[in-house]
């Protein structure tokens, strides 16, 4: 992997610096997206789960996360966390962006922003009822033993990479920007935690209305904006393939919003603002793995199919009785699987589209079933590994410090009990002041 010479490319570097900032903004955006969907009594806790993950993962990533995911001493499943502990010894020549002429530290930050939002995404399934301390402990462990190995397997030269076992035996799986690493991973973990925690009091019986839909719309807008960095930045360069990813990120998302709204209009009688925001995210999720490797028709098809499937999938939790509060499963797991599998139908290397050596065209582009097979293997690995290991981490926390707040705290609201704050001043709340300093 190590190159003998490193030639700085200022254009690529400028784009990757920008893309890192765009992707980092997605996590506060997600805090608004999720925060608006919960009730007034738990909006701060919902947003704090995103901000808490941001703080913790950012530090862990610099200490051992990057090294274990993207170091050069890895086996097929995970890297060595101590190779570049604290980034000591990491040089521009041995980073994953060396070939693009982008300095190693920029690569570290760009990948950190992915790790951060993946952890934050999980919090949507555990709204209103989780101890903040348990969430923070979970975040650190989950990042280290779930996110890092999957990122290494897919992007760090491991089992599912273009040089790995799956590529040699079937076809190289395509996950351009995180369909398996980010979305299937977070979705399966969200399902596991929702099952361990159990349903909120009143789930499926009492209305739990989103308290601020404009927040949800704002969050969806920030996510979409940041997602251009997420998808087009995953090219590691400012070039035509980045342009393809950028275009697909726009058009697939537009289509998904339309098909989600159409599905709702037919099923529920209304095209809702929450549906528009949800359709946007479903489209972004589905196009993420496929962004570089489908043409415009493929992107429109993937977005359109994801909008319908995710709009239908959010009803599953009521059927099966698991409280995936803000639909991490319905949107991220289902959307991630949809995008990952549809690559097997739509992958092409024409029209500025690109895929790694060892991958092949999709079923509808004359490549046969090979790519679909590789995509299915990648999806199954991500779902299985993430779900099983998340259950184990969750059980360990449940047996020791406990995962869930008391029923009294849940009913009165986690914001006040856990964070000592309330989000909104309401009529008649009088306060006196004391300074702790």
């Amino acid at each position: 992997m190590a190159m003998s010479e490193f030639a700085l490319d200022s254009g690529n570097t400028a784009w990757m610096l920008t893309a890192s900032a765009l992707v980092l903004l997605m996590t506060p955006g997600l805090a608004f997206f999720y925060g608006g969907m919960v009730r007034t009594k738990s909006v701060l806790n919902m947003m704090m789960m995103s901000f808490g993950a941001l703080g913790l993962v950012g530090v862990i990533w610099v200490l051992w996360g990057y090294s274990a995911a993207f170091g050069t001493q890895g086996n097929a499943f995970v890297g060595n966390p101590f190779q570049y502990f604290g980034l000591v010894g990491l040089t521009d020549q041995n980073s994953i962006m060396a070939a693009s002429g982008v300095p190693a530290l920029v690569a570290v930050v760009f990948q950190a922003t992915f790790a951060i939002i993946t952890v934050a995404l999980i919090s949507g399934s555990i709204a209103d009822r989780t101890k903040f301390s348990a969430w923070m402990v979970f975040s650190g462990i989950w990042l280290t033993i779930v996110y890092v190995p999957i990122a290494h397997m897919v992007w760090g030269g491991g089992f599912e990479s273009p040089t790995g076992w799956v590529a040699q035996h079937i076809s190289a799986p395509i996950d351009f920007a995180g369909g398996t690493v980010v979305h299937i991973n977070a979705g399966a973990a969200g399902l596991a935690l929702a099952l361990l925690l159990g349903v909120r009091k009143g789930f499926g019986k009492e209305p739990m209305r989103p308290h601020n839909l404009p927040f949800v719309m704002l969050g969806a807008a920030l996510l979409w904006f940041g997602w251009f960095g997420f998808n087009a930045g995953s090219e590691f360069a400012a070039d035509g393939v980045a342009g393809r990813a950028w275009l697909n990120t726009m058009v697939a998302t537009c289509m998904a919003m339309l098909t989600w709204l159409a599905t709702e209009k037919i099923r529920d009688g209304h095209a809702t603002s929450l549906g528009a925001a949800s359709g946007v995210v479903a489209g972004l999720v589905a196009i993420t793995p496929a962004a570089s490797s489908v043409d415009s028709f493929g992107a429109i098809a993937i977005g359109g199919i994801a909008g319908v499937l995710c709009a239908l999938a959010i009803g599953l939790k009521y059927k099966f009785g698991y409280d995936d509060s803000l639909d991490v499963v319905g949107v991220h797991l289902v959307g991630g699987i949809t995008g990952t599998l549809l690559i097997g139908f739509f992958a092409t290397h024409h029209q500025s589209a690109w895929y790694p050596d060892g991958a092949s065209d999709g079923l509808l582009y004359g490549g046969g079933f090979k790519q679909l097979g590789a995509q299915a293997v990648a999806a199954v690995i991500a779902v299985t590994y993430s779900f099983v290991v998340t259950i184990l981490i969750g059980l360990a926390i449940k047996k020791t410090m406990g995962l869930r707040t008391s029923e009294e705290v849940e009913v009165s609201g986690v914001d006040l009990a856990i964070h000592g704050e309330t989000a909104y001043e309401t009529i008649g709340s009088r306060a006196t002041m004391e300074v702790n300093a």
Binding site: R209, P210, T272, S278
Partner: protein, 112 residues
Amino acid sequence: MKLVTGIIQPHRLDEVKAALEAAGVHGITVSEASGYGRQRGHTEVYRGAEYTVDLVPKVRVEVLVTAEEAPRVTDAIIGAAQTGKIGDGKVWTVAVDDVARVRTGEHGPEAL
């Protein structure tokens, strides 16, 4: 003395205020209220989950008047609040034992 209380549609408040002023009422108290009568609530839908919202926003208007004025004030509220549609609200009158004006300490009808 009587207390006349009207629960009305929020969008009729301006008309009710004008009618009460025309009827010679000097002061009213207005507050936001929510509830339901025979029309029940409405339904909202979030990501496919349909919620029936029982409580509908209303405005409560309260007026303290002499016993003789009460029927006229009730009629004024009804006249201004009525749209003929379900959900127009209710007006009721109850007897009041005493009223005191805080500024002067006066009691009874002088305090109205």
